[in-house]
């Protein structure tokens, strides 16, 4: 049961990522065609544009959301791939623990960075 439920979340997370990462890719990579959330001239990754987005509560919230959903989706996907190789029960347990901790640590780092970036942009 637990695996079916997590798998449903995996698909659901895919749908959320689709929207948020779709926006992220539009902002970062389709700027030659549709230029959104890039007020300053130059590259989307230029500091002035990073600060402009960083000031916004919308990006703060959606980045943390994308961070969480993509980490779960990615690490759960990796776990499933490795489980297909039929590791023993101890290896399965170790992987579950490892991916959970790795995901949480990366989520903590990313959330801290999003928040710190937000305060930096607000004071810039």
């Amino acid at each position: 049961m637990r695996d079916q439920r997590l798998w449903t979340w995996h698909i659901g997370a895919g749908a959320v990522i689709l929207v948020l990462l779709g926006l992220h890719m539009t902002v970062m990579h389709l700027d030659a065609i549709v230029r959104v959330f890039n007020p300053a001239p130059g590259e989307p990754v230029d500091w002035a544009n990073v600060v402009a987005r960083g000031k916004s509560v919308f990006f703060l919230v959606t980045y943390v959301l994308l961070l969480g959903t993509a980490l779960f989706h990615g690490f759960y996907g990796l776990r499933n791939i490795l489980f297909e190789l039929n590791p023993g029960a101890p290896a399965k347990k170790a992987m579950n623990g490892l991916f959970l901790v790795a995901g949480l640590v990366l989520f903590a780092i990313g959330t801290w960075a999003a928040w710190a970036g937000f305060t930096v942009a607000r004071s810039a």
Partner: protein, 143 residues
């Protein structure tokens, strides 16, 4: 994931790569797996690199300077293309796995028809969409 009781993946890594008699969709599966892992690898590094914005302009500029050059440009395009493929193929998978676009169950009377033929148009349509997306995204890299 359901425990694969009695039907282990005996071929190991090799079993992931071959399409066998499953054909087109089976290769899309291999590619979906490859792009999923590639996106995950990129994402983990990405969290590290973009965190530098927390330390202000100088930290950001030097972090961005470390990932400049033609090699990284090509890499970034590959990330975009992987995203385009994984996203549209992911939509296809979610549809098919929830039972859409595979046709109604039919009586198994000769000549037998396989539901693989029913889902083939979706697979092809989705790949055309992925190609268009990758090309559109590629325009920005040619500047």
């Amino acid at each position: 994931m359901i425990e694969n009781k009695g039907r282990p993946n005996r071929l190991g890594v090799k079993g992931w790569l071959g399409g066998g008699r499953w054909g087109f969709e089976r290769y899309l599966y291999a590619l979906h797996r490859l792009t999923g892992l590639a996106l995950l690898a990129y994402f983990v590094l990405h969290i590290g690199v973009t965190s530098s914005r927390a330390f202000g302009e100088n930290a950001w500029t030097s972090a961005m300077g470390a990932v400049k050059g033609p090699l990284f440009s090509v890499g970034e395009f590959l990330v975009f293309a992987a995203f385009a493929f994984h996203a549209v193929n992911g939509i296809r998978l979610a549809l098919v796995e929830l039972g859409f676009a595979i046709g109604q169950p039919i009586e198994p009377v000769y000549p037998y028809r396989t539901s693989v033929d029913e889902q083939r148009p979706l697979a092809i349509g989705v790949m055309i969409l992925a190609a268009i997306l990758a090309i559109v995204g590629g325009i920005g890299f040619l500047k």
